[in-house]
Symmetry: C2
Subunit: 377 residues, 2 copies
């Protein structure tokens, strides 16, 4: 959402070129909403969503833990004030030397989803705690996860037994229901799987302690999404259903849900044109596109709210495209985007819900364009 | 191709992490092949393919001109030794203040494809030469261009007349047959369209002089591609067919065809695993993926040759994926990639044909990973 603080910043500073502005007050509110809705779960902020130092410092101060995808993110979390005990190395695909680096920094919680990864962790971080990621189907997610991460639950049992045999602490199970998950009951099936892994391990004398329930908490783009409370209610209901009175420790890893709605990208209309005189549709070109930070428009997956000064005027569907010489740099074409008829070249547009997965996705210098600038206020 | 110089560099320097190594000798050979095959066309290297200063300096020294997508690329070409007269601002989507900046730097050749863009150029670069891009269907291209750029030929006539009325020099017509175009006769239809625009303009007393035949010249990935000679023969045949004895000035804009086969990415196998015990397919994870520079594997479009030390061994189809926590970061899954059964974690792989469209596409810091490093030797 475009807060008064963001509007004030843009009016006062008038930054040139496309830029992201993130309002820390919104991040703080989001953190509190998660903590309030799911008081018995530890929050591990998914750093990859937006690793700005200001955001990490705020969250570290509020007591957040951190889910890191690599050593650089671990270093950023430590720099922001987190202790190593508050960090999870959540990527299931790690170089052994990166596991060793994380271990040397004091990190002792690692994700795995294969025997091969367990072997690396056992060599490079002996004695560490590991959790095994299980596959979920991701049904209902707007940015579904493929089969890339996780293994089937039966194999997770074998992986965790193997970890135990190699001297690691088999600590728990993780899953991810899929990013921008708008079905609050999506966690139910995955928690049933997690419970089955707990039971199988217990039969072999290994007591798992933790369920990492991942991310997937959505940001409001064009459609309303359930509140943190609604997720909390559904998830804790599912936890009680499957685990009864023996609730495990639980972790959640919000990324998009923590920062998505805190950011707004200011962009500019570079060109509005047609392809022929009898073309029914206008092409609207912005100074930001797929390679400038809006990578999640890939396959038109994420549909951002766009605000202009003319939104009270008549609207018409437009093709919306980015500024590069790459024909893949079209944001919305199959499902055209309604924009004001009165929109003109040079107009500013505000792209809301862009606090997550924009700055770091931005290309280094494609077409010579600078990466997306970011201001955290 | 992995040249002896590249192998020697990798063996001597042992750079850590994924990196691109570009052999300037191959770039030089490619330039000479284009000049030899198409001696009557001016070569405008598409800087966006790879803007490394060493490549730009080499090509400037060889007499190349430069097709630039933005002001930063223009500045890089000037820095490399090109004069402004050797630069084309080839992006049809430009901010008016960027047109003014280019004009101030001495650039006087601009692409347009709409009345609106003509107005900007007439205001910000009065008296400049413009060429109008016409739509082509891109049939036969492996990375086809959408309808994003260009207008229908009839509208191009109107756009060029309008440019003339606004005091610009209506200089010519451009088209782009689509990147990685392997059909040498693809230029024929587009040249027929171009000729019709010439004829229409002549009827209104405006003499066009130039046809910009764009890029599209391929790099050899897995399949053989026609030689520069074959393109030259087909294209000059088509030019004579449509323009007879009144051949226009012609421009070509090779990017991928100039640098693609000059570069090799060295990467490392991070993990090889299966999703279940009875999974038929191995997943092979590299330390580079879609967000580290291999963006053109989007929709599995570009299929790079991958070399390993085990290529004499039995092969099996694998899913190939990148290192990030993004499930979209899978390179080849629908069409799995044959890799040696004996490939193991830690092995080095060489990804050939990666000299173009890798370094600048790379994400700034997604998952905290560094952008693709590049060495030009």
């Amino acid at each position: 959402m475009t807060t008064a603080r963001i509007i004030d910043f843009l009016n006062t500073r008038r930054p040139e070129g496309p830029c992201l502005v993130v309002d820390l007050d919104v991040v703080r509110d989001n953190f509190k909403a998660f903590r309030h809705a799911m008081p018995d779960s530890s929050i591990y902020y998914a750093v990859k969503a937006n690793p700005s130092p200001e955001i990490l410092r705020l969250l570290a101060g509020l007591g957040s833990n951190f889910d890191c995808a690599g050593v650089a993110e671990i270093e950023m979390a430590l720099e922001a004030g987190a202790t190593p005990s508050r960090i999870s190395y959540g990527n299931t695909i790690k170089k052994e030397r990166d596991v060793a680096r994380a271990h040397a920094l004091g990190v002792s919680l690692f994700a795995v989803d294969s025997h091969e990864e367990v072997e690396k962790v056992s060599r490079a971080a002996p004695g560490a705690r590991v959790f095994c990621r299980v596959l979920t189907d991701g049904e209902g997610a707007e940015w579904p996860l493929s089969r890339k991460f996780g293994c089937v639950p039966q194999m997770a049992v074998d992986v965790l037994v193997y970890a135990h045999q190699l001297g690691l602490v088999s600590h728990g199970v993780s899953f991810h229901v899929g990013s921008q998950m708008t079905k609050v009951d999506a966690w139910d099936v995955a928690l049933a799987d997690a419970k089955r892994v707990f039971v199988q391990l217990a039969k072999q004398g290994i007591e798992l302690k933790m369920v990492n329930m991942g991310g997937g908490f959505p940001t409001k783009y064009l459609r309303d999404v359930p509140s943190a409370e609604a997720y909390g209610k559904a998830i804790y209901g599912a936890l009680r259903k499957h685990f009864g009175n023996q609730l495990p420790e639980t972790i959640i890893e919000p990324g998009r849900g923590m920062v998505g709605n805190a950011g707004v990208i200011k962009a500019e209309v570079i060109l509005i044109s047609k392809k022929s005189d009898n073309d029914n549709h206008r092409w609207v070109f912005l100074d930001i596109g797929k390679f400038g930070g809006l990578a999640e428009t890939m396959d038109e997956a994420i549909r951002y709210p766009i605000r202009t000064a003319h939104d009270a005027d008549e609207m018409e569907p437009c093709v919306l495209a980015g500024p590069t010489c790459d024909s893949a740099d079209v944001l919305y074409e199959k499902n055209m985007y309604p924009l004001p008829v009165s929109l003109t070249i040079g107009d500013e547009v505000l792209i809301e819900g862009t606090g997550a997965y924009t700055t770091t996705y931005s290309a280094v210098a494609f077409n010579g364009f600078d990466p997306l600038k970011s201001y955290v206020i």
